[in-house]
Symmetry: C2
Subunit: 371 residues, 2 copies
C-alpha cells in the first residue's frame, strides 16, 4: 500500500510542476475521476486542492463522520479535511490564501458557472485560471498497476460472459440477460458494471449502446452483448456477437466475417506512434469498401481507465498519436436497419512490438459461435 | 398521448411566461431531468431551446438517426433537430438569433464554465442571463399523471421487496440481496432502479446510503433495505428494517419503536402549508429526546420525481412550506456505531385533509417483522 500511495503523490507532483510552468501555484480538482486519480479512492463530492507545498482533500461531512478530522492521512500523504456543509470547492477557495496560493487553476470543463462564481465571490483576490484537461492528459498513459487492475477487470468480464454462454438463451429477454451478466460480474469480484450492460437481439443486434428491452431471444437471431467490469475503479469493455440456433444464415456469416476483418485491421494498427485516425481508418475503410460506409458509429474505439470513455478517441478527425501503455477499445460494428448486425469489441493495451505488440485483455473467442 | 403532449407544452408555456417576466425572451435547458420534464423522453445529451414562439429540441446526432430530421414533432409539439456534432448547447446558441432571441437564460447551476464560454463565443451579441432553478421549482408540485407514475413505481417496489422477504435471507450477502431486489424491480416492470439499492446488515444496518458489501446476513441481525423503482422516469423510495431470527432483542424493539414513532410524527406533519423544517423537527425532536440527537442525518426527507433527490428538502434549515401534490420521502433513522440501527422510509404525497391527508405510496408493512 505504501507504494500505491507514493504513486498518487508522484502524480500530484507532476501536476504541481505543470501548473507552476503555466503560472498557477495551485489547482482545484473537482472532476471525480481526476480526484480519484490524484488522491486515491475518495468520497462522493470531494475536491482536491493542490497547493505549492501541501495538498488537501476536502470532503463533504457525512453524519457518519467517515473522514478523519483535518489530520494528514499517512497513506494518501495529504490532509483530509471534512467541510462543515456547503460546497467543498468553495471551502477550498477559502483555504487557498492560507495555503499561499494566489493563482488557482480550476477545471472549467467540469465546474459549473454557479460554482465558479461562488468561488470567485468568497475569494475575490484569488486569480482563477483554467486547468483544462491537464489531469485527463496525465491519465492517458497507464502505469503497470493500473494495467493490472484493467487486466483483472477483463478477466472478470470474460468469466461472466463465458458463464452466460453456457446457459439457455432462447426465450429470455434482453433485460434479463443484461441483469444476469451484471450479477455475474459482482459474483466474480467486480465492484460493479463499468457501464450499463447492453444486450441486443434480432433487429436490435449490432447497435452501439443499445438499451436492453423486453424482446426475447429467438432462433436465428444475432445476439450482441457489450459488457465490462469495474475493478478498483478501472473499467474495461468487451463486445461479442453470437448467432442463436444451429447454423447461421449466409448473410450472417458474411457480415460477421466483414466486421471481424475490420476489427482485426484496427487491432493490428495499434502500435506506439500510430495516428489515432489511422487506427480508425483501418477498420472504417474495410467496412466502407463493402458498402457500409454510411451509418457507421463516429468512432472505432476509445481509451479506458477510471472512466469508460477516455482519451484517446479513435475517430476520423482525431489529432493525436498512440503511446505505449495506453489501453483502448477497438469496437467496429455494422447495423442493418430491420435485420440486425454485428459488433466486436476488445480492450487492448498498446505495446511496443518488442514487447509482443498490442496486449489483448479481453480474451473471449471471436469465432462466430452458434448458441 | 395527445393529452400527455399537451402537458409538456403547457409546462413550456409557463416557463416562457416566467422568462419573459424576468426579461429573457429565450431559455436554454441543459439539465437532463429538466429537458425531460419540458420535452418528454429525450436522448442523452439533448438540450431544449425555448424561444418566444417556437421550441427546439437539439439532439446529438447518432449513427442510427433516431431523431426526426428538423421536422416538428406532432406528439411533443416542438421541432426536433439533430446537431451535426459538437455541443448541442452551442448549436442552440447559434440558432438563437434566427429564433428572435436576444436575451437567453441558461442553467448556470448545470452548464460548465467551458460550455458557457463556448456559447458566448459563438453568439457574442446574445445576452446570457441565469435561469436559476426555475424549472426545478416548477417540478415540485406534481400533476396527477406524474403521481400516477410514482404510484406505479411504489407498487413495483413493494412487490419486489415483498418477494424478497419470502426467501431465505440468512447466509446471503448484502450485495446479492441488493442485486436480487434490482432484478425483481425489472421483473415487475420498472425501467430500472431509482438509485443504487442499499442493503445493510448487522453493524451496517440503519446507515443512510450504505453501499452493499460482502457481509452475510446472520441470525439476530438487523437488516435494513432502501430500494426504489424508476417507472417512466419517476422515482420512489422505500426503506424498511427487519430483524433476522425468531425474536428481536429488547434493544432492537426499543430502537425500532423509537424510529417508528419519529417517522409517524413526520408523516403526520405532512399537511399543505406546513413548514418543511417543522416536518423535520417532528421526527428529529423525538429522536433527540431519546438521546440520539447527535449523528442524525442532516435531513428527514426530500422530494422525489424525475430525480430521486429533489426539492423540497426536509431539514432543520429549510425555508419553504409544503404544497398539496408534492411527493416526499420521510426517512428518519438511528445508527449505533458497532451495533447497527433502524431506518424507516416511505414515499408519500402531501394532500389536503379533505382529500384524506397524506397519501402513502409505499404500503409495505412497518411492523417489525422477524424473518
Amino acid at each position: 500500500m505504501a507504494e500505491a500511495s507514493g504513486v498518487h503523490e508522484v502524480r500530484r507532483n507532476r501536476l504541481r510542476d505543470r501548473c507552476a510552468a503555466s503560472g498557477s501555484n495551485g489547482a482545484l480538482i473537482s472532476r471525480p475521476a481526476n480526484v480519484r486519480y490524484l488522491a486515491g479512492s475518495t468520497p462522493a463530492g470531494a475536491v482536491l486542492l493542490i497547493g505549492p507545498t501541501e495538498d488537501i482533500l476536502l470532503c463533504p461531512r457525512t453524519p457518519l463522520g467517515a473522514a478523519s478530522d483535518g489530520r494528514p492521512d499517512e497513506q494518501l500523504r495529504l490532509t483530509v479535511l471534512p467541510t462543515s456543509g456547503g460546497d467543498p470547492a468553495v471551502a477550498a477557495a477559502e483555504l487557498a490564501r492560507a495555503a499561499h496560493i494566489d493563482c488557482l487553476a480550476v477545471e472549467e470543463h467540469h465546474l459549473t458557472v454557479a460554482r465558479h462564481r461562488a468561488i470567485g465571490s468568497v475569494a475575490p483576490r484569488l486569480d482563477l485560471a483554467d486547468l483544462g484537461f491537464a489531469v485527463e492528459q496525465q491519465r492517458i498513459v497507464k502505469d503497470e498497476e493500473e494495467i493490472a487492475s484493467l487486466r483483472i477487470a477483463a478477466e472478470i468480464t470474460d468469466q461472466a460472459l463465458g458463464e452466460l454462454l453456457e446457459s439457455i438463451l432462447v426465450g429470455r429477454t434482453e433485460r434479463h440477460l443484461a441483469l444476469e451478466l451484471e450479477r455475474r460480474l459482482i459474483d466474480h469480484g467486480a465492484d460493479g458494471p463499468a457501464f450499463p450492460t447492453s444486450v441486443a437481439t434480432g433487429p436490435n443486434s449490432g447497435r452501439r449502446g443499445h438499451r436492453p428491452t423486453d424482446r426475447r431471444v429467438e432462433e436465428g437471431d444475432f445476439l450482441s452483448v457489450c459488457v465490462g467490469a469495474d475493478y478498483r475503479g478501472y473499467r474495461c469493455e468487451i463486445g461479442r456477437t453470437f448467432v442463436i440456433g444451429t447454423s447461421p444464415a449466409d448473410w450472417q456469416i458474411e457480415l460477421y466475417d466483414l466486421v471481424f476483418a475490420a476489427q482485426r485491421g484496427a487491432r493490428e494498427a495499434l502500435v506506439p506512434g500510430a495516428a489515432c485516425r489511422d487506427v480508425d481508418r483501418a477498420a472504417r475503410q474495410i467496412l466502407a469498401a463493402a458498402g457500409h460506409g454510411e451509418g457507421l458509429a463516429p468512432l472505432t474505439g476509445h481509451g479506458v481507465g477510471l472512466e469508460i470513455d477516455e482519451d484517446p478517441q479513435l475517430t476520423p478527425v482525431a489529432m493525436g498519436k498512440l503511446d505505449a501503455c495506453v489501453p483502448v477499445t477497438v469496437e467496429p460494428g455494422v447495423h442493418l436497419p430491420g435485420r440486425g448486425g454485428v459488433r466486436i469489441d476488445d480492450t487492448l493495451v498498446v505495446r511496443q512490438e518488442a514487447d509482443g505488440g498490442p496486449e489483448l485483455l479481453t480474451i473471449t473467442t471471436k469465432e462466430l459461435l452458434a448458441l
